[in-house]
Symmetry: C2
Subunit: 228 residues, 2 copies
DNA sequence: GCGACTTTGTGTACGCGTTCACAAACATCT
DNA sequence: AGATGTTTGTGAACGCGTACACAAAGTCGC
């Protein structure tokens, strides 16, 4: 009984990773009252090439009109549905330090298909405190809270050391999606998705390219470079 | 016997993106007093396959010893040099809200080739306050501060709306590496690198896969799948 | 010194994603 | 209705990154 074409065929990972950008661009257009948009315009808003955008959207189906473009509202709705944001996903944040605090206060989430339903920490000073309108719970109650509140996505914002064990505990009680901010690789069984966000890595990649730009040394003024 | 060619040939982007992971794994090994490591072991620590690791390292040169493995200290040093982390890169953080605050307090950075030399915000309440041992400056002084302190990397942690303009101002005074936390695409001239970190995008990607896992309907995770 | 064993570095094949370029499809105007 | 113009959706070619498999190169034991 699949009413929707949600199970049409596999959507490439690279495409899935860009759908959120398209969705955000579409939301901006909708806010400005724009009803229709061409692939050229939408691609520019999202920072990609139009051919790539059209190829991506073609994986969702034919939602455009030749000679006109895409209906903003309709396309936004389709992407929302495809990404599974029609309902709210219950999210738990483990580790309410600097980063966890920022994440908990990130209201943008609540308007985009997610709801933070649990904040957990080990620190007795934090447990019981109210942060972003939610009481911090004890990490000792992780299993009970995750089950009770139907947590679908776990966010790990603790130091690296306890991350693997916390991840194991989440997986053991049914969490199959984990977002990891700790600077370490997590190993999970088949069927569990882990995505990692690592500020240090991003900066180091920038540093690599920056070094290539100014190979000589500490000079700040850009010198002419030999471009082959 | 190959010389010491830092500018040997182009290192693939995909490889560069993994070098930080290898470096972190090597640091852990070094802390545990391990002197030598095989590609199999190091790959496991970093969460990749050994063939991929060896291919990646081969782009840096031949730093392994057949039949033995790689010298931990030596390889860490080589990667550090290749990434340009031998010196400290001056970093400016624009926007000292929840996220900017967390970033400023992220001490891990200072031990890894970066130094936060400026915190800038627009909010008069924040300007003048000391956060993570640094006085918050006014974003009005962005140009002066960036030049005076030799900022090489700019981190944008403001809302999306002012992000493009702030980026333009950074680029105008010589910043050629930008890390963007605002949920929007930044357009920059040739020669400037922008990397984006987007929590919402990551969660939405997880939601997509999560939806595919539980296609049936609105059932919460059935109460516990017990493995005695 | 020599054979057995270990591990690297890489030739090669393959699959995925991107890009180009264009015919098909639709709207609009006369 | 037909001509004209615009934009989508996609076949096809290309390039990059990954995975396999193994010869080369080293160590270790005797
Ligand atoms: N601060 C940043 O900007 C930033 C950026 C990227 C990544 N990170 C990473 O995110 C993680 C958190 O960073 P942070 O700055 O918030 O650190 P933090 O020290 O401020 O917060 C860590 C929190 O985790 C809690 N914690 C520790 N062990 C725990 C356990 N076993 N169970 C539950 N909670 C536990 C601590 O009580 C603390 O509240 C670190 O791994 C860090 O490397 C931080
Ligand atoms: N909080 C999170 O966990 C999180 C996660 C991912 C992305 N983000 C993004 O990071 C950005 C910041 O998030 P936040 O939670 O820290 O928001 P915030 O509102 O707490 O902080 C924003 C800060 O930027 C400052 N600011 C606004 N306009 C400015 C300008 N023109 N120049 C200088 N400073 C200016 C504000 O004064 C404020 O201090 C947002 O774009 C948000 O979408 C936040």
């Amino acid at each position: 009984m699949i009413a929707d074409p949600a199970a049409r065929q596999e959507i490439p990972d690279a495409t899935v990773a860009r759908l959120p950008q398209y969705l955000r661009a579409l939301s901006d257009l909708a806010d400005r009252g724009i009803l229709s948009v061409s692939s050229e315009e939408l691609a520019a808003s999202a920072g990609v090439r139009s051919a790539k955008l059209r190829r991506d959207l073609s994986h969702l189906g034919s939602y455009g009109v030749r000679g006109v473009g895409y209906g903003v509202e309709m396309l936004a709705h389709e992407i929302t549905r495809e990404l599974g944001l029609a309902r709210d996903w219950p999210v738990a944040i483990i580790g309410v330090g600097h980063l966890g605090h920022a994440l908990a206060s990130y209201v943008d989430l609540t308007t985009q298909g997610f709801q933070v339903v649990a904040l957990l920490d080990r620190d007795c000073e934090l447990i019981g405190q109210v942060i972003a309108g939610m009481v911090v719970g004890s990490v000792d109650d992780l299993e009970r809270i995750v089950i009770e509140r139907g947590v679908a996505i776990g966010v790990i914002a603790t130091p690296a050391q306890p991350a693997q064990k916390l991840c194991d505990r989440l997986v053991a009680v049914g969490v199959r999606s984990v977002l990891n901010f700790a600077p370490c690789a997590l190993s999970v069984p088949e069927g569990v998705d882990v995505r990692k966000v690592d500020l240090s890595t991003e900066l180091q990649i920038l540093a690599f390219h920056q070094q290539r730009k100014s190979p000589a040394g500490h000079r700040r003024t850009p010198l002419l470079e030999v471009a082959p």
